[in-house]
Amino acid sequence: MRGLGWSFFTLFLLYLLLPMLAPVVYSFSRLWLDLLPEGFTLEWYARVLRDPKYLEAASLSLRIALLAVAINILAGVPTAYALYLWSDRMGEGLRRLLQVLPLLVPPLVVGLGFLLAFNRPPLALSGTFWIVVLGHAALGFPFFFRTVYAGLAGIEVRLLMEAAQASGAGLWQRLRHVLLPNLLPAVISGSLVAFAISMGEFEVTSMVAGFGTITLPLLLFQSLREDFRAASAVASVLLYTTLLALVGLSLARRR
């Protein structure tokens, strides 16, 4: 029985690891025509780095992800704090809502909703940089909120804030100097989750983006058909980004 279990588990690990390794191996190999790749090369990365199209997309993706994270921090941290103090029915209802929201409203619906809602004044954002930023912020919000909320449960928030209030600190000072430093690991974790979501996001972006907002995943989608070699380098870079974010996440959790 155990032997059979181990062989199934090994098969599962291969199934998990090989599709992640494939883009990386492909991106470093000169040729991959037969069973195994041949020759080590950095040429495909160089091709991507020399092409301003890819560099612009990378910088755009980075800016969008950072802004989406910033919006999540501004909207999410106060809300998580307020809901944490608010332990009655309305608070519970909102928490439940934030749990089912990403299930009931998939990225497809977020994208369509944004297209329909923000195409007329006062919020005519269709095809702009900001509609992508806000779309990514919306996708990340439930996950950011969940992480920060879980972090609040781990510290004595009420006690800390009451002590600070008793010693005369105003609300902003308490949020800035008491809540945020104590909550920092959770805020960093939540930010990394939101960052990873934004960097790899394709579905909403492809629906709301204009010609001026070609992010890295959108470019990868084009390259899948046009330039498979460049695609391998872009796919690998996206994979490295996710891995870095997750390593950061486990470091933040350890503290």
């Binding site: 029985m1 106060p78 307020a82 995943p217 796919a235």
Partner: protein, 268 residues
């Protein structure tokens, strides 16, 4: 501290503006006509052959994928939770990768491995086996557990840690065979977690289209792809897309509601 409840405002405003208002716009546009209301788009969504087929395909695909994820995820969660602490910690970090990885990277990986000239098909050809077609329903069924099994396992492992071990030992000590212990003791105790994990997978599968689009384009008729093609292709028709999106959300909602009712039976 009661006075600080106003801090909920930024989040509330965010939710209203970026979830409430877009959802309202979807509903409004799906019903709007030059003069008053129309249900014509819903009538089309529920009668046109292509849409009905898409709806049917999406439901079957999501249900089968969920069953596969539950079966695979149960095994993976159980096996992982029995490993030493450090290995388990590493594996749980590993399971987080597919869950947060861009669907396009995954599509790329599977194309390299299982595409027409992929490694596996070369191996199959050398062994005289028939070629595996990644760009088919079986191909899609092979790709999606890559997300769904880790997603389900991550949702189940915490519950398995708290209730699983003790129950299994108790059941075995009172003379149950491993099979009896699994079916009569462990599975009922895990049922809330299984249904919660299943809900996440089912809902995700109903809405997913990125990986499918990268692999098979518009060749497979799914509700999510129908909506996307009405938004992004030459068949551009946002009000019809809005009606289909409402149908999609209603279907997911009914599925989640049934699962939640089922889950309630196990919570005392």
């Amino acid at each position: 501290m009661r006075g600080e409840r106003f801090l909920i405002l930024p989040g509330l405003l965010f939710l209203l503006l970026f979830f409430g208002y877009p959802l309202y716009s979807i509903l409004e546009r799906s019903l709007a006509a030059p003069e008053g209301l129309t249900f014509a788009r819903y009538a089309r969504a529920l009668t046109a052959h292509a849409y009905l087929e898409a709806w049917h395909n999406s439901l079957v695909f999501a249900l089968l994928s969920t069953l596969a994820a539950v079966a695979g995820g149960l095994f993976v969660a159980y096996w992982t939770s029995g490993l030493p602490l450090r290995v388990k910690g590493f594996l749980m970090s590993l399971y987080a990768v597919p869950v947060s990885l861009s669907g396009l990277v995954v599509a790329f990986g599977f194309i390299v491995l299982l595409g027409r000239n992929g490694v596996v098909n070369q191996l199959f050809a050398a062994l005289g086996l028939p070629r595996f077609d990644l760009y088919s329903w079986p191909g899609l069924f092979l790709v999606f557990p890559f997300y769904n099994i880790p997603l389900f396992a991550l949702a189940l492992i915490p519950l398995l840690e708290t209730v699983g071990k003790g129950l299994m030992e108790a059941a075995r000590a009172s003379g149950a065979t491993p099979f009896q212990a699994w079916v009569r003791v462990l599975l009922p105790a895990l049922m809330p977690g299984i249904l919660a994990g299943g809900s996440i997978v089912f809902a995700g599968m109903m809405g997913a289209f990125g990986t499918t689009l990268a692999l098979t384009g518009f060749a497979k008729n799914l509700l999510s792809l129908q909506i996307y093609s009405l938004v992004a292709e030459s068949t551009f028709d946002l009000p019809q897309a809005a009606a289909l999106a409402t149908v999609l959300m209603a279907s997911t909602g009914v599925g989640l509601y049934v699962l939640a009712l089922w889950e309630r039976r196990y919570r005392r």
